[in-house]
């Protein structure tokens, strides 16, 4: 197959003999053989194709390229003994290649230009997000006014999938957070013989911060991404357009149930996470710090005010709004291709977690100003 006689040049007869398989797989060999030939300065040469056993479009392309090249350097090549099929193929390729065949070049943008472009795009996206929220608010008012009822089925499905089905993972995660906090704090407290203060530490940190935050981050990863991917694929399949033409707005049947569902589910999940966080801490306190169950629970009711639980749970609905609205917004922004679904899902999770932490910091400042 790799015989070097794919092409040979006979200087005395000014004849090029082609033979063998002029195929895609042989292209590098043919190419290097062609390069090695010392062509005459000018005049006519004949290219003989009698011995070619097969030629595909890649082979024909290469032959055509060399013919053009030779013509430019003043040599006039003539083809002979090519089969009818091969002549047809050569003709077809020659005809295709006489068309305009410059690949339009993609010019790289200068650095400053792309910085400006990015900034503009981000600002634009933020504006689009605000208008999305505004649009949703008006839409929900309209729906309440016009119909005065909620789509219970959709709502229940959202709460089931994103609340109920998340229970095991949230429980496991918060249990481990409780264990870790108690372990780290316990090591320090034991040095001072202040074992019992673990209850204060654990209770306040889990109820006020860790419970809501860990749950929100987990849900952002689990639910926010799902919202974006679902809506994004529906957008690509034109399901959203279909809904619109049936007089059912996507906000009505898709977005509002999601936002409302998460609004209900996330505080409940936070409560659940609080419970398991404290439980994990209690088990660890018992085994490491030898704090009995009774002592732990007794002190817990004395030092942890109800306020701590309420503050923590009060943040959850805000987080839910962030996760659901960002998730749905990114989903509705999907355009064109599968790659876009992937990009927007990533953005959805990253932005949701980012805003959750920012908002949490703002809450901390507000609460400390209010001395809560």
């Amino acid at each position: 197959m790799t015989s070097p006689t794919l092409i040979s040049y006979n200087p005395s007869e000014k004849q090029v003999n082609c033979s063998g398989d002029w195929q895609l797989s042989q292209l590098p060999q043919i190419f290097s053989l062609l390069e090695k030939i010392t062509w005459p300065q000018h005049g006519e040469i004949t290219i003989d194709g009698q011995a070619i056993s097969s030629m595909d479009s890649a082979g024909a392309y290469l032959l055509n390229q060399w013919i053009q090249k030779l013509k430019k350097s003043g040599i006039n090549p003539k083809l002979q003994h090519f089969s009818e099929q091969q002549t047809k193929l050569l003709g077809f390729i020659k005809q295709e290649l006489t068309k305009e065949h410059q690949i339009p070049s993609i010019t790289e943008k200068p650095f400053l230009y792309s910085v400006g472009e990015q900034t503009y795009a981000q600002l634009n996206e933020f504006r689009a997000y605000l208008s999305f929220i505004g649009h949703l608010s008006i839409e929900s008012l309209r729906l309440i006014y016009q119909r005065g009822q909620i789509r219970w089925n959709e709502l229940a499905a959202i709460i089931y999938r994103n609340g109920y089905q998340a229970l095991p993972i949230i429980a496991l995660l918060s249990l481990m957070i409780g264990v870790v906090i108690t372990y780290q704090m316990g090591v320090q407290l034991r040095n001072y013989g202040a074992n019992v203060y673990i209850v204060d530490f654990l209770g306040l940190s889990v109820l006020r911060e860790f419970g809501p935050l860990i749950t929100a981050i987990m849900v952002a990863g689990r639910t926010g991404s799902a919202f974006t991917a679902q809506l994004g694929l529906m957008k690509i399949n034109q399901e959203i357009d279909a809904l619109d033409t049936m007089g059912v707005t996507p906000a009505d049947i898709l977005i509002l149930p999601r936002i409302l569902g998460l609004f209900i589910a996330l505080p409940l999940l936070t409560m659940w996470a609080d419970f398991f966080g404290v439980l994990g801490g209690m088990v660890m306190a018992n085994s490491m710090l030898h704090l009995t169950w009774y002592d732990f629970l007794h002190r817990f009711s004395q030092v942890i005010p109800l306020k701590a639980l309420l503050i923590g749970m009060g943040k959850a609905p805000v987080f839910a709004l962030i996760i659901a609205s960002v998730g749905c917004f990114q989903g509705m922004k999907v355009e064109g291709s599968a790659a876009s679904v992937g990009q927007n899902t990533t953005r959805s999770v990253v932005l949701a977690i980012f805003f959750i932490i920012v908002v949490d910091a703002i809450f901390s400042v507000i609460f400390s100003e209010l001395k809560l």
Partner: protein, 265 residues
């Protein structure tokens, strides 16, 4: 151009999904250089048969030989070698949405040849031109192309490795009549110049009349008849009769019996 050499040989093929029997006993042989269409009513197992020929779905029993190799018994390496010798145009084009057109078409070349980058680009561009697309489309992404252009792009990718055999799954579905007949012409042109063997799955009666040498009709789990279309339409079998006797079938037949068929007679 049709030679006597058999390129695909399907014998006693049967397929079951759970309790439903899709194919009972399929026997079909396809010769090198011919354009054959596989037709039949919806749900008769055309696409399943195609997937089985591509090596994507396993039939329940029987054998499929492509290039004299039984692809059901072939090792993964051999199967890959066979798959490299054919090209496929999928129903939904299956263009990679994250790559632009040139990259899409060049992809098989990058994977399967050791050519340098320039040569790959040139060859890919040649195939794009051969498929009847303008060179300005080369840097566009699939989502930016119209349906007809996507089909042509899919076809360009299918022929980029210079296959001996190509499979077209519903090549004209969802295209306007003008674009569809343009695509038919393109298929014929490629077949003539590159000496391809073409297997088409289609519902499009115009495509059947213009492009095909023979048509295989699937129904009741078997191949009911394989014949040139002009003979096939005369088959008295009720399923075949029903398929071609609709008003569209008659119109297509009438317009092509006026000497506009493939062989120009």
């Amino acid at each position: 151009m049709t030679s006597t050499e058999t390129i695909i040989e399907i014998k006693n093929l049967s397929t079951e999904f759970g309790n439903t029997q899709v194919h009972k006993d399929i026997n079909l042989s396809i010769k090198r250089g011919e354009v054959i269409a596989i037709v039949g009513g919806s749900g008769c197992g055309k696409t399943t048969l195609l997937r089985e020929m591509l090596g994507l779905t396993q039939p329940t029993s029987g054998s499929i030989k492509i290039f004299d190799q039984d692809i059901l018994l072939a090792s993964p390496e051999i199967l890959l070698k066979i798959q490299r010798r054919f090209g496929v145009l999928f129903q939904e084009n299956a263009l990679f949405s994250s790559l632009n057109l040139l990259e899409n078409v060049a992809f098989p070349l990058h994977e399967h040849t050791r050519l340098d980058k320039n040569m790959i680009q040139e060859l890919a561009l040649l195939k794009i031109l051969m498929a009847g697309l303008p060179s300005s489309a080369a840097v566009k992404y699939p989502a930016m192309l119209s349906g007809g252009m996507q089909k042509r792009a899919g076809l360009a990718r299918a022929i980029v490795l210079d296959p001996e055999l190509i499979f077209l799954d519903e090549p004209t579905a969802g295209l306007d009549p003008n674009t569809a007949s343009g695509l038919d012409e393109l298929v014929l042109n490629l077949q003539a110049t590159m000496g391809l063997t073409i297997v088409i799955i289609t519902h499009d009666l115009d495509t059947l009349w213009t492009v095909t040498d023979r048509v295989a009709f699937i129904g009741e789990g078997v191949i009911l008849d394989v014949a040139p279309l002009a003979e096939l339409v005369k088959n008295p079998h009720p399923l075949i009769k029903e398929f071609f006797s609709g008003s569209r079938g008659r119109t297509a037949e009438a317009s092509h019996s006026k000497g506009k068929d493939k062989h120009g007679n």
